[in-house]
Amino acid sequence: MPLFKTFKITQPKEYYEKFLEKDVRPDNRELGEFRPTVLNIGCVTTAEGSSLVKLGNTSVICGIKAEVAEPASDGKKGYLVPNVELPPLCSTNFKPGPPSELAQVLSQNMVDFLTDSKCVRLEDLCIVPGKLVWSLYIDLVCLDFDGNVMDACTLALMAALRNTLLPVVTVDEDSGEITTDVSIHQKLSISKCPVSTSFIIFDKKILLVDPTSEEEDLATGALTIITEGDNLCSIYKPGGTPLTDTQMKTCIDRAFLRGREAERLIEELIDK
């Protein structure tokens, strides 16, 4: 085994420090640089909308299935049901069985992401007020867990939503019969494009964007910022090393930059 590999395994923190002293990361990235982002849409033909996102090695696939459902008491709102799965195939950290705590937190993050940004108006999912609405089941499966799954999930979610085509449903008023016309499809109206950007804090002082799973293991804190246009949708920093206001500002500025970048990426792909 080459010497640097032994060094990496036995003293991972010192190994990283050697690189960070020179303002570079072991995978040749600068501290504020994202891994190459690959976006693919419509890869699952049986789903109403789908996407595959790769952030470096991290891969997340997203499929959206639509079902008709009865609305709740107020009658006009549809349902969005996101779910994040971290199967044992994506990393050794996960075992078969009920969803892990991380998977549950990520699923909740997706719910908050959709409700905070209001990128899909639930009223737009209404078919017949008081009778029928769309219920969108958004399933996100992580295929390769190499850090920053949150950003990969949100990007996959947004791309899949933009890709979603719903069949036209008509209800016969007299007989109440529901007919689905699969030959005509309607696009889901999505006006906003929220983008999340994650950071970790290394050794209580250095901020790294888009962490790999090795970097996440060494982190002393994490931070996720969701931007939408010129507004902030969420700042999520659960504990970890305390940050100063200037450090927070640097992260917010970087997040806005990434927001515009990712938005352009999705737009270009949809236009194709």
Partner: protein, 233 residues
């Protein structure tokens, strides 16, 4: 101690909830050591929002959770009704990592420090109330901490007005709610949790406002602890 009941009329409660709040924290109250079997316990309230927090430890750890170089911090959040949902899991995760930053875990390797939080009444700023209660419970149990933490929430209303320590009504009507957690050492940001959309300027205003309020929470910790210690002499 004799049980005490306060009868609150529904009209009064509504009037209080609807009253225009100024830019101050609601009334803080705490009862340290309210339960006898736990290492640290507190019944903490912020206005009408009340939680019960207890802490155990350093104690024995479950073998699969053991860490050779530090103590494992466990947080259990019990909602008022029903079973814990994913939203409560997220709350637990936030509480856990916030407290992990505050506790000097390296002092107690291969042991566990557990915090159990029972929601008793959520009438606004529940997350902030939970974090403050957990910090007081840890102080009551005399767990070594690198710094104390204080959480304060604000709501950004539709017109851009910022309300400190919002009640339930303001939280629901507001465009966004931001909860900040500060450390007692240099008032840096330990945690931020937000919901809803807001601008950078509103974020800046909120952080300045909550930082000032956090100092009052730290003063309250000092007062409650000195009161308890005076009693025990």
């Amino acid at each position: 101690m004799a049980a005490a009941f306060i009868v609150v009329r529904k009209e009064d409660l509504e009037a209080q909830q609807n009253a225009e709040s100024c830019q101050t924290l609601r009334c803080l109250t705490s009862e340290l050591g309210c339960l006898t079997r736990s290492d640290g316990s507190v019944s903490f309230s912020q206005g009408d929002t009340t939680v019960l927090a207890v802490s155990y430890g350093p104690a024995e750890v479950r073998i699969n959770q053991e860490q050779y170089d530090k103590a494992t911090v466990e947080v259990v959040y019990k909602p008022k009704v029903g079973l814990p949902r994913p939203i409560d899991r997220k709350r637990e995760a936030i509480l856990k990592s916030t407290l992990e930053a505050a506790i000097v875990t390296s002092l107690h390797p291969r042991s566990s420090i557990s915090i159990i939080i029972q929601e008793t009444e959520d009438l606004g700023s529940n997350m902030a109330c939970c974090i403050n209660a957990a910090c007081l419970a840890l102080l009551d149990a005399a767990v070594h901490m690198a710094f104390m933490v204080a959480a304060v929430a604000v709501s950004v209303m539709e017109d851009g007005q910022i309300k400190l320590d919002p009640n339930k009504k303001e939280e629901l009507e507001g465009r966004a709610t931001l909860t900040f957690v500060f450390d007692s050492a240099d008032l840096k940001v330990v945690s931020v949790v937000t919901s809803g959309t807001f601008s950078q300027e509103e974020y800046k205003k909120s952080i300045d406002l909550t930082r000032l309020a956090a100092e009052r929470v730290f003063q309250f910790y000092r007062d409650s602890l000195s009161k308890k210690l005076m009693q025990s002499i």
